[in-house]
């Protein structure tokens, strides 16, 4: 992660209008905010299903795959974007084939996923070793970079992101059904296995997007933290999904702002803001439960949901 503060000067004024004017005076910051918005929304929406389906390990594996993807693209001299999308989607298909019954969870799935992850990480290391020239540095592949995002890159992110969201919107309800209740869904004619494979591909594409911004290792910050936080706050599907997107967007933009003004890495800021939101959600949940335990006069229902 490069330090944005090295590239730009200025001081934080606590006045959002002035601050945004100052930041957006730099085209690279405008692109960073655009790319951040696309990635945050896509990752949070896909991540919401990932958390619900208990597939965070698959998400972790796919994000690790981004590293060999990007290093391979550098090695053979093609755009890094091709490496990210190519490897992540291919790995998603491999995972889909390795899964047997299309149902989330299970020890066997974890083992197979782990094997794929270890092998592809090793491949990434090999590609870095083979490329003896000046690689952008494994560091930026692992921890991401907001600097130097071109308008073309933003366009690619936006197109892929729109595609992912469109497919997700089309299959959203059957996917939710298949995620929480696969047997009944199958009995109702929902193609559970096909949806499971399709979701892994969506997850691969979303991971490839997020990895280009947060780096391979910090994809979780945008993929899992907002969704986990939102699901703490509410168990209504639609508001929870929306909240997840808003948290992801807020963490990303706040992280960008912080990284612009303070000389610390962006990935640290984004992850910290997302993590702070999760801690806050946990605290609110604990308070609700405590107040509910205190007696029937409490205003909140025992589970923290309005009755």
């Amino acid at each position: 992660m490069r330090l944005l503060a090295e590239a730009a000067s200025g001081s934080f004024s606590w006045n959002p209008v002035t601050d945004f004017q100052q930041m957006w005076a730099y085209p690279f910051m405008v692109n960073a905010f655009r790319a951040g918005a696309v990635v945050a929304v896509v990752a949070a929406a896909v991540g919401w299903f990932t958390v619900l389906r208990r597939q965070t390990f698959a998400a972790h594996t796919l994000s690790a795959v981004a590293f060999p993807g990007a290093s391979f693209a550098t090695l053979v001299g093609i755009g890094a974007g091709f490496g990210y999308f190519g490897f992540c989607v291919a790995a998603a298909l491999v995972l889909a084939v390795l899964r047997r019954d299309g149902r989330p969870g299970g020890v066997e799935e974890s083992a197979a996923t782990g094997v794929v992850q270890a092998f592809l990480l090793a491949c990434g290391y090999l590609f870095v070793a083979l490329y003896k020239g000046l690689l952008t540095g494994p560091e930026s592949l692992l921890f991401g970079s907001f600097l130097g995002i071109t308008g073309g890159q933003v366009a690619v992110l936006a197109v892929v992101g729109t595609g992912v969201l469109a497919v997700l919107a089309a299959v959203g309800r059957p996917l939710l059904f298949a995620s929480v209740d696969p047997e009944v869904a199958a009995g109702r004619g929902v193609p559970v296995r096909l949806l499971s494979a399709l979701f892994l591909v969506l997850l691969g594409a979303a991971t490839a997007e997020a990895a280009q911004i947060t780096g391979a290792l910090l994809v979780f910050a945008l993929m899992v933290l907002p969704a986990a936080t939102a699901q703490q706050f509410t168990s209504r599907p639609a508001p929870s999904l929306l909240l997840s997107v808003l948290i992801g967007l807020a963490a990303t933009w706040l992280g960008l702002t912080a990284a612009f003004y303070w000389p610390y890495p962006l990935g640290f800021f984004v992850t910290s803001f997302a993590f702070a939101a999760l801690l806050a959600a946990r605290a609110v949940q604990a308070l609700r439960e405590a107040s509910a335990r205190r007696g029937p006069t409490a205003l909140v229902a025992p589970t923290g949901e309005p009755a």
Partner: protein, 285 residues
């Protein structure tokens, strides 16, 4: 189900809603059962009983069209199995929800109504209002209104089972297939859920086929019993099938049918019989 089919109207239909004729099933090269004849009329409550591994759940899968028959005929609502869509409701064998799953009971029921529909649901419109009404109605029918807005993983076993029955009922099926719905419930919840299923069956005219492990909680609600054993089936009203002689012959071990103080039959296995493990439950189920 208010405003649905009336029981009397359903009874008039001469054709059975579910019919197996000389049906046989092979799984993995082994014939599970063969020569099974079964007719279920509208609004009838039928229990499928038998020892473990005899193919009770497979019978349900056959009716759902998820398992083909090797021989014989199967007719579901006058058509082939698996082609009746929402006219057949299905509750699979006990599935537990993770306590941390953040989905409400009412969402689970709602998915039973529209979970197989593609695209984004519109949050307005008359259809949406009708569907919301239907979900509330069916949750009230099963007596789960109080827990429907909690995350389903936080509901008790009995509450979860009621919500799942609501999910199976939400599209007004004519046949309801329940696979061991009383399993892992405590005794009061077993009889409460059994009474609920009996009420739905007889008042709403929904034919119920329930795979059961233990016949006792449902015995006095039943219209008909199918006992699967030794690859064959014995079918008839409980007063004929649930007798000491028939059950002892089917299980090849002494089984007694006693009468409680108010005249209800109770199935009891002989505790000293070494051939059957697990005592009365293994025999009864």
């Amino acid at each position: 189900m208010t405003g649905g089919r009336e029981m009397t109207g359903a009874r008039e239909t001469a054709r059975p809603v579910l019919c197996l004729c000389g049906a046989a099933v092979r799984v993995g090269g082994r014939t599970l059962w063969s020569g099974v004849d079964l007719e279920v009329g509208a609004g009838e409550f039928v229990a499928v009983l038998g020892p473990n591994g005899v193919g009770k759940s497979t019978l349900v899968k056959v009716v759902l069209g998820m398992q083909p028959v090797a021989a014989g005929e199967v007719s579901v609502l006058g058509g082939r199995p698996g082609e009746s869509g929402s006219r057949v409701g299905y509750l699979p064998q006990r599935r537990s929800f993770d306590p941390s799953l953040r989905i409400r009971g009412t969402d689970i029921v709602r998915l039973g109504l529209d979970g197989d529909r593609w695209g984004i649901p519109r949050p307005w419109g008359a259809r949406r209002a009708r569907e919301r009404e239907r979900v509330e109605e069916v949750i009230e029918l099963v007596g789960a209104t109080a827990c429907a807005h909690r995350p389903i993983g936080r509901c008790s076993g009995g509450e979860q089972q009621r919500l799942l029955i609501a999910q199976a009922l939400v599209r007004r099926p004519e046949i309801l297939l329940l696979d061991e719905p009383l399993d892992s419930l405590d005794l009061p919840n077993q009889s409460a859920v059994a009474a609920l299923v009996g009420r739905i069956c007889h008042q709403q005219g929904v034919a119920v086929v329930m795979v059961a492990h233990d016949v006792n909680p449902i015995l006095h609600h039943l219209d008909r019993v199918v006992y699967l054993a030794e690859g064959r089936a014995v079918c008839g009203p409980p007063s004929e099938v649930v007798t000491s002689a028939t059950l002892s012959r089917l299980y090849r071990t002494p089984v007694e049918v006693l009468r409680t103080g108010d005249g209800r039959p109770v199935v009891v296995g002989h505790p000293e019989t070494p051939a059957v493990q697990g005592g009365p439950h293994a025999i009864a189920g």
